[in-house]
Amino acid sequence: MSKLMPASAIGTPFERLDGELKVRGTAPYAYEQPVENPVHLYPVLSTIARGRVERVETAEAEALDGVLTILTAETTPRLADSSDRELAVLQDTSVGYRGQIVAAVLAETPETAREAAAAVQVTYTEEPFTAQLHGDDPALYAPEELNAGTPTDSSQGDFDGAFDTAALRIDATYSTPPEHNNPLEPHVTVAQWDGTVMTLWDSTQGVHAVRGTLAQVLGLEEEQVRVIAPHVGGGFGSKGMPHVQVVMAALAAQVTDGRPVKFPVSRQQMYTLTSHRTPTIQHVRLGAADDGRLTAMSLDILEHTSRIKEFAEQTPAPFRMMYASPNRRTTTRLTPLDIPVPSWMRAPGECPGMFGPEVAMDELAAAAGLDPIELRRRNEPEVDPETGNPFSSRHLLECFDLGAERFGWENRVARPRSVQEDGWLVGMGTASAVYPFMRQPANTARIRYEQDGVYSVQIGASDIGTGSWTALTQIAADALRVPVDRIRLGIGDTRFPTASVAGGSSGTASWGGTIIAAARAFREDHGEHPSPGAQTEAQPPEDPEAADLALYSFGAHFAEVRIHADTGEIRVPRMLGVFSAGRIINPRTARSQFLGAMTMGLGMALHEQGVLDPRFGIFVNSDLAEYHIPTNADVLDMEALWIEDRDEHAGPLGARGIGEIGIVGSPAAIANAAYNASGTRIRDLPLTPDKFLT
């Protein structure tokens, strides 16, 4: 018998339950939450990259009508724990990056707060700083470990010996620039302190994560922190951990006699206050036999981090498990810079880590005279090459086969720069996608029978625009074996039981698995005909079997690229992603997530680039006019498909998560298509027109 829960509502393309609220503009986001008599906060940001604040002159600003107070390092309430220097706002006078908060104005109106902030005069003692990633920087170091517990370095077999004697060798360096998450809704926190409880209306991917961190830094019991986030306008990782604006708002709320404090971060301020994706330099070496079978592979990665807080991305992770080869090695080194703190951005690790290697595979295919799909077929591992664990479900080649058929891959001309239409050079490319299955254990769901067949299902999950309101309702309906209209879902509030962050593509599996466990417990406790008020809370069971398996989702990206022979302009008229991600809960919202991630991959390939000016230590293109993401005119024929994939090992839900895999590999597919179109191999993102000029 299948371990998967039978599906009824699951698999049905329900419209978003919150769609009408959003279309009508009545879904309350953090800033719109109705609060009484708010105080408005506007920060003063440092204009040096490293040093110390000597003096903050506030008299002129304080004299403005409507200014309540100006918080500085001298006047700001103390934190109980200031060990995290990203969050330790106004706890001392040190400056760790340009754009750091060095004072904050509280005023009766946002306009007054902003005007007063401009009138605050700050004098500094500057210290020398560095704000540029160099491959030969002596400060490069090996972090203790990478995110998600990934070992910093890895080595199996004899890479050097095997590479030196390989018949085919690829030895190239690739790079990806800093990128910014740029969710549509900027970060915002509204904080209110009643003397006992700190209430935070926050734009966050995880209300309990915010509660945990804030309780710790503020020195409060977790019960004294309430976090509310029913609707969130995107996060892409930048709202996965609380950033400084949450702490700033909470500290300010302690000096306003109970009045709530609103701190909306502006788009420009997001480029320093709410994280970015580290740039990467990726040295890839592939050795292969004449038939294309890999004999040696290595990946050496350089990235930056901030001096005040380490962030070490797990960039080599996919390289270690993707293809079979007996001799393999990876290293990761970081250089600490006096810059804003990097953090998670959609598929941290996997996304940049599948750029260089997947372009290198395309280069190897050309060197071997093989179709790129055939090259991957020949290097398909039988088990996870690093751990030896069997894959629970690996359908990479089925994704390529279906994609090739649907995309018309057979029409690709292998020889580059062979196809021209109306002055445009046309080409096709492909690349693999992968993302690990993660389920977070720290989840609890509460189910309560109301009356008339209606069940309340509560868990502090987040809907960051992905469709969680809808998908979790479908899961709850099937778990309780009732129609979806009998489910009253409650999410986005720490009043509900503990839930993990909407991150790592783990939300639906983690929260949904917990709801299923709670529904089973509820039926065991109360049967099929419960009395009104019957209630059960439960956590998901352990899954010891999964520890001995390699659980991953896979995918294949296809792209057609056109490059103008005169101007170098590059367009992507067609993209197709085919995914194997376990059970799909809601085909409508799933397709949106796949397409959204592929669009972000398109942006990474062609547009996105945070320009870090090393003379100042700031990202100079800090708005959506200068920091480019795709416009509607850039997103043409794009489609996402998935194959039937019943994973018996990914819990009773059997869904491995879909939030991130769509961005993984898509930039490489576009870069490979650009090479096929133009004959120019670009190894440094983004692929801008100047790089294709002849």
Binding site: A366, R415, R417, Q420, L425, V620, T631, A633, T688, P689
Partner: protein, 356 residues
């Protein structure tokens, strides 16, 4: 935001008088650029004189074939105007290549001409900028220069003028009608904006309080076109752009001869750059690829590139050739023909594998 006064103008003359007499005053039209600068702290007018409701919003064809465009005609309306689309395609194309649909609905003709550079250092009040704060230095010259000038810049400023429309107007030999306290004057669009020199804070030759009331187009050229090269398909400033207007001696000749031509370049200078050197090479010359490229080279001979924008030289050359090719019906080279490709395998073309 810094507080400011607001006055809605009753007529152009009183608006001019008010702004002329108030040192901190500025005209407000569509507001799509000025209001941004105010929010960023780049502009701090003490008084906004709103001229957007003055009835200077018609496109009138004169008896002599000239076309007069009121300063308040919205970019979207001008782009859609039948006369403009049919007789001055370069202008319509340039307008539609600019900004976004929402912005074009608000932005006006005069305001478009007077928008200021989007140089990232100009727009960030915490970095030095001679244009924003004279004497503080230029952050761009050794900084992020992707959108910066290769022609006519100075060591004090390497900013570019961001307008697409102005580039087309320069190639169309348009004029601006300006009202000042002392009356009206008319000057060519090409003379409206200035090069930065050592006074980059001055974008144009207008005095404080002078108001553009109209743009005048001469009778239409036989052929015109605008081509913009940018980093994404919409809502991006030009890396380079080319506007060209020309007449051929014999439209039906196998290799026609160019009787007259006007070319303007965008994204390369502090002003719409009339390519007079290129025009001189082309006037009276046969419409051939070689001549197009010679013309481009003549214009680009004095280009001075910065670390980070050297690509603009080949980009202008190629784009200019492409525009002239399209306008004259000249066939281009086969981009994928043998000899023009450079497929590179990991160890060079011979090793690339695809011939196997």
């Amino acid at each position: 935001m810094i507080p400011f006064d607001y006055h809605r103008a009753e007529d152009a003359a009183s608006a001019v008088a008010l702004v002329s007499g108030t040192p901190g005053a500025a005209f407000l039209a569509g507001g799509t650029n000025l209001v941004d600068r105010m929010k960023l702290g780049v502009a701090q007018p003490t008084l906004l004189v709103d001229i957007s409701r003055l009835p200077l919003d018609t496109v009138d064809v004169q008896e002599d074939g000239r076309v007069r465009i009121g300063t308040n005609v919205r970019n979207a309306d001008l782009a859609a105007n039948t006369v403009i689309r049919s007789r001055y395609p370069a202008l319509s194309q340039a307008l539609l290549a600019g900004a976004s649909g929402q912005l074009r609905n608000l932005a006006t003709t005069g305001g478009n001409l007077l928008q200021r550079t989007r140089c990232v250092y100009f727009q960030n009040p915490t970095t030095p900028c001679n244009k924003r704060e004279p004497g503080t230095g230029c952050s761009a010259v050794e900084g992020y220069t992707r959108y910066h000038a290769i022609l006519g810049a100075s060591e004090d400023c390497v900013a570019t003028h961001p307008s697409d429309m102005a580039v087309a107007l320069a190639a169309l030999d348009a004029a601006v009608v300006v009202m000042g306290p002392a009356g009206e004057r008319v000057l060519p669009v090409s003379d409206l904006h200035r090069l930065p020199g050592n006074e980059p804070q001055k974008d144009t030759v207008l005095d404080h309080g002078e108001l553009i009331t109209a743009v005048e187009l001469p009778p239409a050229p036989a052929r015109s076109a605008y081509r913009k090269v940018r980093d994404r398909a919409a809502y991006a400033f030009a890396l380079v752009s080319v506007a060209a207007a020309l007449e051929l001696d014999d439209d039906d000749a196998a290799v026609p001869v160019i009787r007259d031509v006007r070319i303007a370049l965008g994204g390369v200078a502090h002003k719409p750059w009339r390519a007079l050197q290129a025009e001189a090479v082309l006037r009276g010359a046969a419409a051939t690829e070689d001549n197009f490229r010679s013309a481009a080279d003549a214009e680009l001979r004095h280009a001075e590139t910065l670390n980070g924008n050297g690509f603009k030289v080949p980009m202008v050359r190629n784009t200019l050739a492409a525009v002239l090719r399209d306008l004259t019906g000249t066939a281009g080279p086969d981009a994928s023909a043998p000899g023009t490709d450079h497929p590179e395998g990991p160890s060079g073309p011979d090793d690339a594998g695809w011939e196997k």
